[in-house]
């Protein structure tokens, strides 16, 4: 069936932006006792005690990012039990999770639900190795689907940087401290069984996940590699082209009139996005503008902005850097939040709905402003929405920043390979060769043209400018079976991702 964006999709097609029908979440499962005998000291023997069955759903969070040891450790033991056809519901999957590929090939894992997948597992899915269809959800919808029982988790394995014998968990302490466990909260409260896997058994006075959620605590040697947990890659770009994009973005934000006392802001950890934060930082200090909050994944730079008084508060769903981990321990205005508080569509007070600005990237953006951050232009999975579609929907002004041409490939295309974020929720594209504002904002376009020197053009003009540099790229078309679905924050299907041809 064709959805509202013209894509042929199975299941519930995306119908366009619809009024939200609030749903009541199921009752939270019965609470666990506050016992100290939950602790097990051997993962292998503990896994043998679990009532594992074929077709179960096991969940994991990705706060340890590319330094995570837990998913590989647990799944290696689970595989030994001989169970098959498991669903892995992981908030994200990184290159470090390469060992899962052999479990996919052995049919131990036949379905994956995640918000972002990169590396060998993404390749395996693209190459058709996963038996069932992978579901790529937004961060918000992952929480929604768990809380609404659409995704019913049998066992949640929660990598716990610090955990008490009773099962009180925090991300703020321990050798693998990652700050926040926002993406694990729904799993902890709604999974049928919750297993904390920790390398730091200690009294936890202020838990993010309380002991009443946790059935078992398993002590292992190490849950992660700190070098891979907090990224060292979140640096402000020094590329002059990227810096010009950031400067234009800041000028545009100011010109919208929304950049005033009490403004709210989210930006990613990419080089250009961070450069936008730096521009906004300077602008706010110069003009004495104080924002209400910044949110999302928190970088060192956002911590600096909080400490300089540019924002009153930070709402943090995951810490990208060590400074953020430290800040959340000591700064009472740096708040932890769950994925549901961040972006659950049925929570009218969610954080994304309160955003004025969000700065986002794009692998492709098309003439209808649909954005792809899920696949490359060859259709190979290399990411996923994360919070992209959630924040674009919620923010008053969703800004995509990108070089128009990168490595001889245009970011503007006639149709994106995969729709991650519907164009109806994207407001503007800022590139090094012009700024395109969605035509539904004609009054803003007229205002900006009259009052600023910003290079406002139609997105078609940007497309033509790109083609003048790159030539017209040859179309690739994947005709293989559907290997993954791009699922929107309301649960509808935006697009399909097909098996890629690996014959060449």
């Amino acid at each position: 069936m064709k959805n509202a964006l013209g894509r042929d999709v199975p299941g519930h097609p995306y119908l366009g932006l619809q009024p939200i029908e609030r749903i009541e979440y199921k009752q939270i499962k019965s609470l666990k006792e506050d016992r100290k005998d939950k602790v097990h000291y051997d993962l292998e023997s503990f896994i043998k005690t679990l009532p594992l069955e074929d077709k179960m759903t096991l969940s994991f969070h990705h706060h340890l990012r590319n330094g995570d040891f837990v998913m590989n450790q647990v799944m290696a033991e689970v595989a030994k039990s001989g169970v098959k056809n498991l669903t892995i519901c992981a908030s994200s999957i990184f290159p470090t999770h390469a060992p899962l590929v052999s479990l996919i090939e052995q049919k131990t894992i036949t379905k994956i639900i995640a918000s972002y997948i990169s590396g060998p597992v993404a390749d395996a899915i693209s190459e058709g190795k996963l038996e069932d269809v992978c579901l790529l959800q937004t961060h918000g919808y992952r929480a929604t689907s768990i809380m609404s029982d659409e995704t019913s988790i049998d066992i949640a394995f929660i990598a716990a940087p610090a955990c008490s014998p009773e099962g009180n968990i925090t991300g703020s302490m321990g050798p693998s401290g990652c700050g926040v466990l926002g993406y694990a909260i729904a799993d902890a409260w709604y999974a049928k069984r919750v297993v904390a896997v920790t390398d730091f058994l200690v009294d936890v006075l202020v838990p993010e996940i309380p002991a009443c959620c946790v059935d078992d605590v398993v002590k292992v040697d190490r849950i992660g590699d700190p070098d891979g947990i907090v990224s060292g890659t979140t640096k402000i770009t020094r590329d002059p082209v990227g810096l010009r994009i950031a400067k234009s973005t800041a000028e545009l934000m100011k010109a919208t009139g929304l950049l005033k006392n009490g403004f709210t802001f989210q930006t990613g950890a990419g080089g250009i996005s961070l450069a936008v934060a730096k521009e906004i930082h300077a602008l706010c200090l110069n003009e004495n503008i104080k924002g209400k909050f910044a949110s999302g994944g928190i970088t060192s730079y956002l911590v600096k902005m909080l400490e300089d008084g540019v924002f009153e508060e930070l709402y943090d769903v995951q810490c990208f850097e060590l400074d953020a981990v430290e800040s959340i321990k000591r700064n009472p205005n740096h708040h932890k939040m769950s994925a549901a508080k961040y972006a659950d569509i049925h929570d009218p007070d969610n954080i994304v709905n309160q955003l004025d600005f969000v700065i986002l990237g794009a692998t492709e953006i098309d003439l209808d402003f649909n954005v792809n951050v899920t696949t490359g232009s060859d259709g190979r999975i290399m990411g996923g929405s994360g919070g992209h579609a959630d924040t674009a929907y919620g923010a008053k002004f969703a800004i995509i920043v990108s070089k128009l041409v990168s490595s001889r490939i245009s970011v503007v295309v006639d149709q994106v390979t995969t729709i991650t974020t519907p164009g109806g929720t994207v407001d503007v594209l800022v590139t090094d060769r012009g700024i395109a504002i969605h035509p539904r904002h004609q009054a803003l376009i007229d205002h900006l043209k009259a009052t600023t020197n910003l290079p406002i053009v139609e997105i078609q003009t940007l497309y033509q400018r790109a083609l003048a540099l790159t030539g017209i790229p040859e179309k690739t078309q994947n005709l293989g079976r559907i290997v993954a679905l791009s699922q929107y924050r309301d649960g509808t299907i935006l697009d399909v991702i097909r098996q890629i041809d690996t014959a060449e």
């Binding site: 002059p240 082209v241 810096l243 400067k247 090094d432 060769r433 020197n453 400018r465 540099l469």
Partner: protein
């Protein structure tokens, strides 16, 4: 043409050439000389030629710095570059004799290829001889639009140390600025070579501006905005200029020859300066 900044860019780097139109500089100087090694001269020449032919530079002025007359490559540079209509050719180590020889050769190319537009010249004075004979050099060609002081080569020629403060080039700066003004040619200041030191760049540019320079060359894109900020009129300058021009219009319509603002008599040089500020503000977009 608005020319506050001129960014030097090596001619042999395709990725940099591609981004030339979008870095925010008023003028781009594709370099075939010092930043290109001898074994890259041919490829740089062809790359720059194709870049000029292919890319849309919009309002960015395109200048090519050729190799000096003392080298072997300058004629080939001109043969390739002049026919693709750059806005200007930049002549390094300029003196009257070299400029005359280059102009003769350009004229030959223009006639042979029947080019419809004459290419302009920018010169770099960067030797003691070049500084001391600048008046003769400026007098010898009507194509010269801009003179750039090259302080690195000049201080090498003088055998003195180049400093951040730049006291050692004060004489050269004053001489270039004065001579340029005498021939209604723009004076462009030497690049500030510490690309990390924006504060130093601003200070250096302000000093050059105070001596009569209205543009500054740069060697990194991140220097462009700071240079523009120095040469752009401030909001109070713009407001004051507008007030002067409005008073002038009122005075003219009332048949008054002279007028005053806030008790100060406004004469012709002040009106001209106000007009220059408003023109510059319009060009830079600070005044719609």
């Amino acid at each position: 043409m608005l020319r506050r900044s001129a960014l030097f860019m090596p001619g042999n780097n395709p990725a940099m050439l591609l981004s030339a139109p979008i870095l925010g500089s008023d003028c781009i100087i594709f370099d075939l000389e010092d930043s290109v090694s001898l074994n890259q001269k041919d490829s740089a020449r062809l790359l720059v030629k194709h870049a000029i032919e292919t890319l849309d530079f919009g309002s960015v002025e395109v200048v090519v710095r050729i190799n000096p007359v003392s080298s072997q490559g300058w004629k080939q540079d001109l043969r390739e570059i002049v026919p693709v209509y750059p806005d200007a050719i930049m002549i390094p180590k300029a003196c009257k004799e070299d400029v005359e020889e280059i102009e003769r050769f350009i004229l030959e190319i223009e006639e042979e290829k029947q080019l419809t537009k004459k290419v302009k010249l920018m010169i770099i004075v960067e030797t003691a001889y070049g500084i001391e004979t600048i008046v003769e050099t400026l007098r010898c060609s009507r194509r010269i639009e801009c003179v750039l002081l090259g302080a690195e080569d000049l201080t090498t020629d003088l055998g003195i140390k180049r400093t951040k403060e730049g006291y050692e080039i004060d004489y050269a700066r004053a001489k270039v600025a004065m001579a340029a003004r005498a021939f209604s040619v723009q004076a462009m200041d030497t690049p500030f070579t510490d690309v990390e030191d924006t504060e130093g760049l601003v200070k250096d540019t302000l000093h050059a501006k105070s001596l009569g320079f209205s543009a500054k060359a740069c060697i990194h894109p991140n220097q462009i905005d700071a240079i523009h900020a120095v040469f752009d009129p401030t909001q109070s300058e713009i407001d004051s200029a507008i007030e002067i021009l409005e008073e002038r219009d009122r005075a003219l319509s009332s048949g008054l020859g002279v007028f005053s603002i806030h008790g100060k008599m406004i004469d012709l040089p002040v009106i001209q300066r106000a007009q220059n500020i408003v023109d510059l503000a319009r060009k830079t977009g600070k005044l719609k």
